[in-house]
């Protein structure tokens, strides 16, 4: 057979917006523009990779778009990318996932004929290289956002093609943070007798089986929030004349990289020192991002003299602003999307809790609520209902979990100690 190569990508989520920002870099146009275009840039990098590596085809395992976003721009960008591939003679095989199922109205743009879109039931397509069939790709697209248990269960090796691939948007094994769509087990996939399972849906890259068959998620092309840190990209796969597959190579194509960092305030005497430490952190991020812009979430932790200052109204916001200004001027820029203050006061809480004074009373009360169980914390939940149960606001606010309440209690404890205990004592 003839040797061939292909790229396996998934979860493009074209034109999906970055989530979780506490503010926008309106005053730094280049930052805003880069973030806005990040998913398109990452997709452009994917297409360039295909062209540069002269691969034979591209596999896309679902979630090309966010159907809920209904972005025409995303469809046009995908069409343009496919056109570029078509012009270079590269075919594409696409299986849609739960975010862009076939019944969604995102398919209003006509794709080139070199793109094969799998239908709602299992089917396969044969890839021929110079007239010789070398690979068979099996796959199915989500007909709707949710599918039944029988969806795409019949994919099995068939035909004489030496290399057979399964292209599917599904969940294999447990994955935190992802809905369990088309739950499959690794054994089920192995039983299908294929050589490569090109999966999508899980945004974090993972290789579930290295060989016989290879089963893996390349992850999404572009991290979209603070929990999607690190390089994001696709697998580049090469198969030789004997039908042997080299270990898939992960290639990062993300346009902007997300990062989370923690900085302790211990030993930092004042705000300028903290700003200096933050500046060093930003420099470090800029150096370690392979030349990409970085969006970083910074958590300030530890105990130190700055704790009280940081809790003062406006300090954290001013710090964020100055850090953002410094980061925006770096090349590539490092944009601190938020600075979370999780520092602790320099107070012996246990001692204060046992005191007979008002602070002790407060701390004991907080401790009681901590240990009261979810039911005992209902009064707390009730007093927050004014906002979190507000008909307009609640649409945009996450539900308050019991863990959230416990976290809030920690913050309240810090707040009370910070404000009620005199500074000299603290």
């Amino acid at each position: 057979m003839r040797a061939f190569s292909f790229v396996h990508a998934a979860d493009l989520h074209l034109d999906a917006a970055f989530q979780g920002f506490a503010g926008l870099p309106d005053s730094h146009g280049h930052v805003f523009e880069t973030l806005r275009r990040a998913t398109f840039e990452a997709f452009g990098n994917l297409i360039r990779l295909c062209l540069d590596e002269r691969v034979d085809f591209l596999l896309v395992a679902g979630d090309v778009y966010n159907a809920a976003d209904r972005s025409l721009r995303a469809q046009l960008a995908f069409r343009d990318g496919m056109r570029h591939l078509a012009e270079a003679g590269i075919r594409a095989y696409v299986a849609h996932g739960n975010h862009d199922p076939l019944d969604s109205r995102v398919h209003s743009v006509r794709l080139p004929d070199t793109v094969h879109v799998f239908g709602k039931t299992e089917s396969s397509a044969v890839f021929e290289k110079e007239g010789e069939p070398v690979a068979r790709i099996h796959g199915a697209s989500f007909p709707t956002r949710t599918v039944g248990k029988r969806f795409a269960r019949k994919i099995q090796r068939e035909g004489p093609e030496p290399f057979q691939i399964g292209l599917l948007h599904c969940t294999v094994g447990p994955h935190a943070g992802h809905e369990q769509y088309v739950p499959r087990t690794l054994d089920e996939l192995r039983r299908a007798g294929l050589d490569y399972w090109a999966l999508g849906h899980v945004h974090t890259r993972s290789e579930l089986s290295e060989r016989d068959p290879f089963v893996g998620y390349p992850g999404n092309l572009q991290g979209l929030h603070a929990n999607e840190t690190g390089p994001r990209g696709c697998f580049l796969v090469r198969v030789d004349e004997a039908g042997r597959m080299a270990p898939p190579e992960f290639v990062a194509v993300d346009a902007v990289r997300w990062s989370r960092r923690t900085l302790s305030i211990e030993g930092l005497p004042d705000i300028p020192a903290l700003e200096q430490a933050l500046g060093a952190l930003l420099d470090e991020e800029a150096r370690g991002s392979d030349g990409r812009p970085v969006v970083v979430r910074i958590e300030l932790s530890g105990r130190g003299p700055l704790h009280g200052e940081l809790l003062r109204s406006g300090t954290a916001a001013a710090l964020l602003e100055s850090t953002q200004r410094a980061g925006a001027d770096l090349d590539p820029f490092v944009w601190p999307e938020r600075v979370e203050v999780r520092t602790r006061p320099e107070v012996d809480l246990d001692r204060r809790r046992s005191g007979d004074d008002f602070v002790g009373e407060c701390l004991r009360l907080i401790q009681e609520y901590r240990g009261a169980g979810a039911g005992g914390r209902e009064p707390l939940r009730a007093c927050l209902d004014e906002l979190f149960g507000h008909p307009r606001a609640s649409r945009f606010l996450p539900d308050l979990t019991d863990d959230d309440l416990l976290e809030l209690l920690d913050e309240v404890e810090t707040l009370c100690v910070d404000r009620l205990v005199p500074a000299e004592e603290g």
Binding site: A17, Q19, S71, L72, L397
Partner: protein
């Protein structure tokens, strides 16, 4: 913290008021109403906590004397003296806190100083008035309640209140359900707005798909319609070709048919008809002009014969014109005579009437003239009149004045009597005490008491100050001895020196930085200029060199081409003229040849002898025939001979005429030929000149318009190249200049930088010198020097403070001794025993009270005496005024009598009636004046009348003289205008007739000359017409015209046939005639037109539809394109995500604060429940003491926040509302005392200020309250204001050492 001094610069009615040396513990201020007690309370509060906002509804205590509210309080904190100053201003007014070491601070330092005490706490609990005591609600405000309750809890009360207020504020700013401007609500609004916009854009994919479908459908339809249009268009073209061919086809057929019928005309002179018409027209014009001139001549002669005029009248023309001009003057004089006569009659009548009004005998003009109306006489009259009137008015006014003076005297007498009685009623004061001396002791009383109490404190203070100074000097670590520090002078100068050095160094440093920057910029500019110069020179080198050197050469070249064009034009014009001359010459030659050719009459050319021989022959033959009897032949021959003779005569005449015309033609030919040769010579010269120019300019010959245009285009291009080169040269020059300038600037910048460096070094050296000179370490920086100076000043201030304290203690001791000695001396004089220093105050108080009573009696007696004296003086003044009034009245009456006598004398003198009043005399004078004016006007009118009558008589005489000279009858004055007008009219007529006859004679001479000049041209014209007719072989002009018409028509038709055939071939190609033959055999032209119209209609409809489809398609494609380019949704979605993130952050922040407040409230409830009774216990102890055990407890029922119950000795419970007013006040005071005790525990005590709070207490309870206050004074300084002496006495009883100060209204 203890208040030691209050200084009011301005506040309410207080101004520049100081209260100094306030003692620790209790101090009672006694003062009457308006002495400033409440003002002082408010002053203390506002200096500490700020002046209230102008909008607040409180007494602002605006300065009565104007200016800003301002003042200071001086505290002792431990041993440290702290001054708090505040001036009225925004946000409570700026405050300054000055510490003992000279450092200063503002609100922050004041806040530290005040510790946990907030404004509300101070006002409600620590410093309050009776009103505020009565209002328990002042204790119920959240902040106070928090502060008080938590004070009892042992925490910092301010902190809890502040924390809760801050959190509540932050919470409100973040979110409340009804706050539209809260951050969360605004964020929600932005999110919803963004979401709406995003949703709107989310419809784009559907719109895109719909557009794609619509575009495809439109394209299909368009393709189908365009195919149909192509097909029908082809058919239409064919039909239109047939229709278009029809006129040619039809016209060709008609022309061919007509041509076949027309006769042939072999030749015809070119433009024969035109030339004939021109000549005939010229002839007609000449003939018509001749006829018109003849007619006009005849008419003019006839007109001349009819003209006549009067010679005699013309001779008298000047005299007649003179009369005509003078006539209007004559008529005017006549009219004026009549009007003057009427006017004189009127004036005489008016005079008579006025004279009668004055009185009998006044009609005599002489009497009227004699009456004196000069200005002096008038002035005398006015003075007399005014004297009489004023005298009368004055007498009346003085009479009224006298009556008033009479009444005033009576009143003054009565008052004098009453006040004398009142003075007698007041008893005489007893002799004795010297009040001023006692007052002097009293004024020392306060100082004495304060000094007595303050002296030990001052001594202690002095010891501490000394210890402090020693420690401070150790800290400062300066080598300077104490004497030198104390003697440190000129710190301002030193500071100024440091500041100047700082400035100088900073300026020098900045100058160096600036100079370095300027040098760097200059270097960069030089580099830029160098690059620009190189680029400019490069561009210059690359630019093509133009073929001409400069503008002058280009201008010369342009001149050459311009001259070439002019010469070329001249050559062309001359060539055309030569050609025209040759054509005309050819015509003339042709005319001459026609005359000499075969068509001419041959007979005319035979010599005369031929004709004679032929005649003789004929006569011989005829004679032979007659002889031979052939009479008929002879007759015929005779007739022939006779005819020949006649014909010969005719021919001779004709020949002469032809010869003359031929001669004229030959002359014209010669003339034309000469002209042609002259033109050819000029043409040759012009061509040579052209060739010379071409040779000079190197221009190829022959010269044509194309060559000239090419040359001009070349010149334009060269001009462009020249311009471009010039610009490049200029740019290069500018760049070089710029480079040179940048070089110069760089040199200057380098120099400046070097100078700045030198200046910096100099400044540093100077600073080191200054430090050395002033005894400082030369290595100090200016900032360090400032610090050292500040420390030195602080040390010096402390030393001064110690010296001042020592002086003060010494003065206090001396004052105490002197005061006691002075008082004992006074007592000795009064015969009373001496007192010890501790009884000084009381003794002075008793003496003062005694002196006050005596003083009051003296004051009353003195006042009564002064009032009686004043009444006596008033009575004397009234009597004096009455006498003066009498005297003035008498004088006035005498003056009036004198004035009336003078008036009577004047009346008599003027001859006026006796007894005439001053008012009636005014009318008489006015009438006499009018009469005199009328007399003047009558005399003037009579003189004018005479003058006009003589002027009219003179004119009449002159008129009659002229009439007599012309033989006309004389006239009387009434006929004069008619006679003069008739003469003028006749003269005008005679002058016009004479002028007309002269004009007609000149016209006749002109017309005769014109007639003679027409004859020559007429003859030449006739000869030329005849030549033209001969050329066409026409006998007359009509035949000439017919032949011309046939010749023209044939040519037209032949041309028509050719054109039509060419047109058809062009339209339809070869074989068009055959094809048309077939086509028009099958269908008519009308059929084809109908078919064309139908096809055109169909095509138009198709075109419209296609056009519409194109438009719709274009619009759809544009819409599609816009949709494809739309990127806004990405930005909006990113913004939406960011806004949502921000909202969630704010919600989390809100939740944290909300929970924190929840926890705080719950903790507070629990804490109050367990700790509050402590406050109440404190309160109930005081309450029981105030009520002498009538009430034994105070209870705060659980669950009833803020509610109180009072427990009586019999254990019954009452609410505060059930208590009497005084008892309720005692309850509230007890609670305040409870709070105060708890509040003061662990916090820096501020002075307590109470303003007359014991007014409603009965004597026992008031005494108990005084004791409670005295006891409280052990814990804090208390200032107690009262206006009741008994309250002071009560305090004195319970606290013998009490310091009482008097407040006196300013």
């Amino acid at each position: 913290m203890r208040l030691v001094e209050i200084h009011v610069d301005g506040f309410g009615a207080l101004r520049d008021r100081s209260i100094t040396d306030l003692p620790p513990g209790l101090c009672v201020f006694h003062g009457a109403n308006e002495a400033g007690k409440s003002t002082l309370l408010a002053f203390v509060r506002r200096i500490l906590f700020g002046f209230p906002d102008r909008r607040s509804n409180v007494n602002h205590y605006d300065c009565v004397h104007g200016g800003k509210k301002k003042g200071r309080l001086v505290f002792l904190r431990g041993d440290e003296r702290v001054v708090v100053e505040r001036v009225e201003g925004a946000r409570g007014g700026p405050v300054k806190v000055v510490f003992a070491d000279g450092t200063q601070g503002g609100e922050v330092e004041l806040s530290r100083l005040l510790g946990s005490t907030t404004r509300d706490v101070y006002q409600s609990v620590l410093a309050f008035s009776l009103d505020e005591l009565q209002t328990f609600e002042t204790l119920a405000s959240n902040q106070v309640a928090d502060a008080l309750s938590v004070a009892a809890m042992g925490e910092n009360p301010q902190r809890l209140g502040q924390v809760r207020a801050e959190w509540e504020n932050e919470l409100r700013e973040l979110f409340t359900p009804r706050a539209h401007k809260a951050a969360v609500t605004e964020g929600l609004r932005r999110i919803e707005d963004l979401r709406d916009r995003v949703r709107e854009m989310e419809r784009d994919p559907e719109a895109y798909a719909r557009l794609c479908e619509e575009i495809a459908s439109l394209e299909d339809e368009l393709r189908s319609l365009e195919s149909e249009r192509r097909e029908k268009g082809g058919l239409l073209v064919e039909v239109r070709n047939l229709i278009h061919a029809w006129p040619d086809w039809h016209a060709r057929a008609l022309a061919a048919a007509e041509l076949a019928e027309l006769p042939r005309v072999p030749s015809f002179p070119p433009d024969g008809i035109g030339r004939l018409e021109t000549l005939a027209g010229e002839r007609r014009t000449l003939e018509r002009t001749g006829a018109q001139l003849g007619e006009r001549l005849h008419e003019v002669r006839r007109e001349l014969a009819a003209v006549e005029w009067d010679g005699a009248l013309l001779a008298e023309a000047r005299a007649v014109r003179g009369l005509e001009r003078g006539l209007s003057g004559f008529e005017e004089a006549q009219g004026q005579v009549r009007s003057l006569e009427r006017e004189l009659q009127d004036l005489e009548r008016r005079l008579e009437s006025l004279a009668r009004e004055i009185g009998p005998g006044w009609a005599d003009p002489e009497r009227l003239r004699r009456f004196d109306l000069s200005s002096r006489s008038r002035e005398a009259f006015r003075e007399l009149q005014e004297a009489v009137r004023e005298g009368r008015h004055r007498v009346e006014a003085l009479q009224r004045e006298r009556e008033a003076a009479e009444r005033a005297r009576a009143e003054a007498v009565e008052i004098e009597r009453q006040r004398a009685e009142a003075y007698q009623e007041i008893p005489e004061p007893p002799p004795g005490l010297d009040e001023r001396e006692i007052q002097a002791h009293h004024s020392k009383q306060q100082h004495f008491a304060a000094a007595l109490r303050d002296l030990p404190l001052r001594r202690e203070e002095l010891r501490r100050e000394r210890d402090d100074l020693a420690r401070f000097l150790q800290e400062v670590d300066l080598d300077w001895p104490e004497e030198r520090i104390e003697g440190l002078t000129g710190t301002v100068t030193l500071r100024e020196g440091v500041r100047r050095a700082q400035d100088r160094l900073a300026r020098a440093d900045e100058a160096v930085t600036r100079a370095e920057l300027a040098e760097r910029q200059a270097r960069e500019r030089l580099e830029e200029a160098r690059v620009k110069a190189l680029q400019a020179e490069g561009r210059l080198g690359e630019a093509p060199a133009p073929p001409v050197r400069d503008e002058d050469e280009l201008r010369q070249r342009r001149d050459l081409v311009r001259r070439l064009r002019a010469r070329h034009g001249a050559v062309l014009r001359l060539e055309a003229e030569v050609r025209a001359g040759e054509q005309r010459l050819a015509d003339l030659e042709e005319s001459l040849s026609v005359r000499g050719g075969p068509d001419s009459d041959a007979g005319t050319r035979l010599p005369g002898w031929v004709w004679g021989a032929a005649g003789v022959g004929l006569v011989a033959v005829a004679g032979w025939a007659l002889q031979s009897g052939n009479a008929a032949l002879a007759a015929a021959l005779a007739v022939l001979a006779a005819g020949g003779a006649v014909g010969y005569g005719l021919v001779r005449r004709r020949t002469a005429q032809v010869a003359a015309a031929e001669q004229a033609l030959r002359r014209r030919r010669d003339q034309v030929r000469a002209e042609r040769e002259a033109l050819q010579d000029r043409l040759g010269a012009a061509r040579k000149e052209l060739a010379d120019l071409c040779e000079a300019g190197g221009i190829p010959v022959p010269v044509t318009d194309e060559v000239l245009e090419t040359l001009e285009a070349e010149l334009d291009a060269w001009a462009g190249q020249l311009r471009e080169r010039r610009m490049l040269l200029r740019a290069a020059d500018e760049a070089r200049a710029e480079q040179a300038e940048a070089g110069r600037r760089l040199e200057a910048a380098e120099q400046t930088r070097a100078e700045a460096g030198r200046a910096l070094e100099a400044a540093r050296r100077e600073w080191a010198d200054w430090l050395g000179r002033n005894g400082f370490d030369p290595s100090l920086s200016p900032d360090m020097a400032v610090d050292v100076l500040r420390r030195l000043e602080a040390a010096r201030e402390r030393m001064r403070s110690i010296r001042s304290l020592e002086d003060r203690i010494e003065r206090m001791e001396e004052t105490l001794r002197a005061d006691v000695a002075g008082l004992n001396a006074l007592l000795a004089r009064l015969g009373r025993p001496p007192v010890e220093p501790e009884w000084f105050v009381e003794t002075v108080g008793n003496l003062l009270a005694e002196a006050d009573r005596v003083k009051e009696l003296v004051r009353q007696k003195q006042a009564a005496r002064e009032r009686a004296e004043e009444a006596r003086r008033n009575r004397e003044r009234a009597e004096e005024a009455l006498g003066q009034a009498d005297e003035r009245l008498r004088d006035a009456r005498q003056a009036l009598e004198r004035a009336e006598a003078a008036w009577a004398a004047w009346v008599r003198e003027q001859g006026l009636p006796e007894g005439l009043s001053v008012d009636a005399a005014v009318d008489v004078l006015r009438r006499v004046e009018a009469c005199q004016e009328i007399l003047d006007r009558i005399e003037e009118g009579r003189a004018g009348l005479e003058q006009r009558k003589s002027r009219a008589a003179e004119f009449l005489r002159r008129a009659n003289e002229v009439l007599a000279g012309l033989g006309r009858p004389p006239c009387d004055p009434g006929q004069v205008p008619g006679a003069v007008a008739a003469l003028a009219q006749d003269l005008e007529h005679a002058q016009r007739a004479f002028q007309k006859a002269e004009g007609l004679k000149a016209r006749i001479a002109d017309l005769e000359g014109e007639l003679r000049s027409l004859e020559g041209p007429l003859r030449a014209n006739r000869s030329e017409i005849e030549g033209l007719l001969r050329k066409a072989g026409a006998r007359d002009e009509d035949e000439f015209r017919r032949k011309a018409e046939v010749f023209r028509r044939r040519a037209e038709l032949e041309r028509e046939v050719r054109i039509r055939e060419a047109s058809l071939a062009n339209l339809l190609g070869d074989g068009a005639l055959e094809m048309l033959e077939r086509a028009y055999r099958e269908r008519s032209a009308e059929d084809y037109r109908q078919q064309e119209a139908a096809l055109a209609q169909e095509l138009e409809t198709l075109g419209d539809r296609i056009s519409e489809l194109h438009q719709r398609l274009g619009a759809k494609r544009r819409e599609l394109d816009q949709l494809e380019k739309k990127e806004e949704i990405s930005a909006l979605r990113l913004r939406l995500a960011a806004e949502t993130g921000a909202l969630q952050d704010r919600a989390r922040q809100w939740a944290r604060l909300r929970l924190a407040l929840f926890v705080l409230e719950k903790a507070r409830e629990k804490y109050e429940e367990s700790h509050r009774p402590e406050v109440l216990r404190e309160a109930e102890t005081t309450f029981a003491r105030l009520t002498s055990g009538r009430y034994v407890g105070i209870r705060s029922p659980l669950g009833e926040k803020g509610a109180l119950r009072v427990v009586a000795a019999d254990r019954s419970e009452l609410t505060p509302g059930q208590l009497s007013r005084g008892t309720a006040e005692q309850l509230y005071l007890s609670i305040r005392f409870g709070f105060v005790r708890r509040f003061l525990r662990g916090t820096e005590p501020l002075p307590l200020v109470f303003d007359d709070i014991l007014v409603n207490f009965d004597p026992d309870r008031a005494r108990a309250a005084c004791e409670a206050i005295r006891d409280l004074a052990d814990e804090a300084q208390i200032l107690f204001f009262t206006c009741h002496p008994e309250t002071v006495d009560r305090f004195r009883i319970v606290c013998p050492q009490l310091e009482v100060r008097e407040l006196v209204a300013s």
